[in-house]
């Protein structure tokens, strides 16, 4: 039973006269029980009519009735009697579409629409056990709501009562209360306030799009010009303008109560969106002919394959995701191998249709990736939270990395010539942005530290140099000097021209993601 009170009676009458649908009537009476909105239209209508036909009498109405007002009985609204308030059931205009919700709380609250929404979700084949329902309504509904509220306010002000706009139940909430039970039932999932799976239902009403336009003249500063052809009448802008505009000004520009329309809202396609899932791990790169990300210049692919594509492909298909974003803790060049424990990375899978995987299944995915190519290897593959991925980039300047480089020297060397390298600790160098990346990086000077070095003599013109450096150090430029723009460099230290023939990353010293024992 509806918990309507004495004071609601005039509101109910006034709204029904204006052609409001029964659920909008409940909203303006601040009925906050979900079950009320789930009842059928006819049911609610019957009870409302019964409610207003009662006299203001000592007999309490149904469930409520604690109030006994001392006011003189109002003009009673009689069914089918012509009164100064107007008849309640007589159709005053042709359409029976609610001028406030434009039909959203009428036919769209029927089980058939709920089933339609559910079927659309089922077609998209998501796996989930809960969902959140979001509703988007056309901006002009706020205008009509405001108009109706002013209309009601006027009536009750005369009775020295007050109805705050916040007390009125919002159309969105009423709609959700009406349909979520059926939707949850159809989909076998709980409809919650928060969930990783979002089902969006939207409505539009082209017929009344111009309802908002007058606000642009009365409150111009609320509406910012938009870059593309999008309308400036966004929901937020309209709501803001309605907060600013005075009652009197509003009433001058817009009818209160709102005028009826000939058409009702049309429903947009139901869309689903699953929040991103993050997969982290560490990768090794064994090929000297594999870029980390696709190498494309002017639309042309310069080299086949990439680390990110090799890792993401099996993930995309298992999670049935629409796309991905790949990020890692630093990068290596095409011709550089990544050895040791590998480099931490994270893949954000966008709109995954399946998001739940257990440890075994993830292990299996890791195997699949490793079997797919001998150019890379992945370890410690695991699902992580979005927040955890920031661990990858944190402290980038403090972390260290170790490398192994094959060095050529112009002058002939003996193994004794290399001994001094092991004694150099925390060598400060200044690196101007290397010429080879200067086209896409700002010009700057980067101070960096070479923490330690050691060497393995190979022959009179070659040796292996091992280095432990601060993260962000350009190793190749430290070796050949980059036109003298990295100072000091290995050529300076060894007093000869030197060049780097091969480079390997031996370790990336970050302890994330957590190791997964095999």
């Amino acid at each position: 039973m509806l918990s309507l009170k004495e004071k609601d009676r005039p509101i109910v009458g006034k709204l029904l006269c204006a052609g409001c649908c029964v659920r909008c009537v409940l909203r303006f009476c601040c009925v906050g029980t979900c079950s009320a909105y789930r009842r059928s239209y006819e049911d609610i209508h019957k009870e409302l009519l019964a409610f207003i036909s009662e006299e203001s009498s000592p007999q309490p109405h149904d469930a409520s009735g604690e109030e006994k007002t001392d006011e003189p009985p109002n003009k009673r609204l009689r069914i089918d009697e012509g009164s100064t308030e107007g008849s309640v059931t007589a159709a005053q205009t042709d359409s029976d579409i609610c001028p406030v919700c434009l039909g959203v709380l009428q036919d769209f609250c029927d089980p058939t629409f709920a089933k339609q929404v559910s079927d659309a979700v089922k077609n998209q084949q998501y796996e989930f056990d809960s969902l959140v329902l979001t509703v988007s309504l056309p901006a002009q509904l706020s205008v009509r709501e405001h108009s109706c509220w002013l209309h009601v306010k006027k009536e009750i002000r005369e009775k020295s009562m007050c109805l705050g706009k916040e007390d009125v139940i919002q159309v969105k909430d009423a709609f959700k209360w009406a349909v979520q039970g059926k939707i949850g039932q159809e989909l076998g999932a709980a409809v919650l306030a928060n969930s990783s799976c979002e089902v969006s239902v939207g409505f539009m009403h082209p017929e009344t799009e111009e309802d908002c336009h007058f606000l642009a003249n009365t409150c111009p500063d609320c509406f910012k010009p938009t870059k593309n052809k999008a309308s400036i009448f966004t929901r937020m802008a309209v709501v803001k303008a309605l907060e600013k505009i005075s009652e009197e000004k509003f009433s001058r520009h817009y009818p209160c109560p709102p005028k009826k329309t000939n058409t009702r809202c049309t429903a947009l396609d139901t869309t689903c969106l699953h929040t991103s899932v993050f997969i982290a791990g560490r990768y090794n790169k064994f090929s000297r002919e594999l870029p980390q990300t696709p190498w494309v210049i002017d639309g042309e692919r310069r080299m086949e394959g990439s680390v990110e594509e090799l890792i993401a492909a099996p993930l995309l298909s298992s999670f049935r995701a629409d796309g991905f974003n790949f990020s890692s803790s630093g990068r290596e060049d095409v011709d550089v191998r990544t050895l040791g424990n590998g480099r931490p990375f994270a893949v954000e899978l966008l709109n995954p249709h399946r998001a739940k995987f257990n440890r075994t299944e993830i292990k299996q995915l890791q195997e699949t990736i490793n079997q797919s190519s001998d150019k890379i290897r992945v370890r410690d593959l695991q699902i992580v939270t979005r927040e955890a991925t920031s661990r990858m980039k944190e402290g980038e300047e403090e972390k260290t990395k170790t490398y192994s480089a094959l060095i050529w020297t112009q002058k002939a060397i003996e193994s004794t010539d290399l001994e001094f390298l092991a004694n150099i600790k925390d060598l400060k160098i200044a690196q101007k942005t290397p010429l080879r990346v200067l086209h896409r990086r700002p010009l700057a000077v980067r101070p960096r530290l070479i923490h330690s070095m050691s060497s393995i003599y190979l022959d009179r013109h070659h040796f292996t140099l091992k280095l432990c450096t601060q993260a962000g150090t350009y190793i190749k430029e430290f070796v050949h000097g980059d036109f003298g723009r990295t100072k000091p460099n290995l050529c300076d230290l060894m007093k000869t021209n030197a060049d780097i023939l091969e480079l390997d990353v031996e370790s990336v010293d970050i302890d994330w993601p957590p190791a997964i024992p095999d």
């Binding site: 002017d298 050529w408 112009q410 101007k432 010429l435 080879r436 990346v437 200067l438 086209h439 896409r440 990086r441 700002p442 010009l443 190979l458 022959d459 009179r460 013109h461 070659h462 050949h480 000097g481 980059d482 036109f483 003298g484 060049d499 023939l501």
Partner: protein, 177 residues
């Protein structure tokens, strides 16, 4: 690996293409070498045939102040798109070099684009320019104007082969440098 001086291609060979402009502004033998990186950035250097590098000349002074209002040292670029860099045409002067024999030479941009940096190391140590004109003795780094077709930047520039032909012709005519 062999015990020999022969080696794999140098940094310049691996990443750069050599282009040349000879007899800048009609001045005999004042040849420049433009090192164009595969990412289109260009390094302006003296070609090995430039007079400054001949006959054991020594450098007295290098001046980046090319006019009352313009010093290449004041060049400042910011951001990824290198905003603020001085705009250069092919014949924009980069610097003026005076040798100990009082000969003065102007080094020119040779390409159209934005000046990214000039080499300040040679101000302190002019010998760098004499000893390592193609690497540590570079003059300037320029971001060319035409982004898509780097070929159009090098229109009017000579390839290495064409440059060598010019040198051969000169030797035959025995032009003094």
């Amino acid at each position: 690996m062999e015990d020999s001086e022969k080696k794999a291609p140098s940094v310049i060979d691996r990443y750069f293409t050599r282009w040349y402009r000879t007899d800048l502004k009609g001045k005999s033998c004042e040849d420049h070498c433009i090192l164009q990186h595969s990412n289109r950035i260009c390094v302006i250097t003296l070609a090995e045939s430039h007079p400054i590098l001949q006959n054991g000349r020594k450098i007295k002074n290098i001046n980046y102040q090319i006019s009352d209002g313009c010093s290449r040292l004041k060049n400042k670029v910011s951001g990824k798109s290198k905003r603020g860099g001085q705009f250069l045409t092919e014949f924009a002067p980069l610097c003026r070099i005076t040798c100990t024999d009082e000969q003065e030479y102007t080094i020119f941009s040779c390409i159209r684009g934005r000046l990214l940096e000039v080499n300040e190391a040679i101000l302190n140590k002019p010998d760098l320019l004499l000893e390592k004109p193609s690497t540590e003795g570079y003059i300037a780094v320029i971001l060319p104007k035409f982004e898509e077709k780097s070929k159009s930047v090098t229109e009017g520039l000579l390839t290495r082969e064409q440059y060598e032909e010019v040198l051969t012709k000169r030797n035959q005519q025995e032009e003094p440098c």
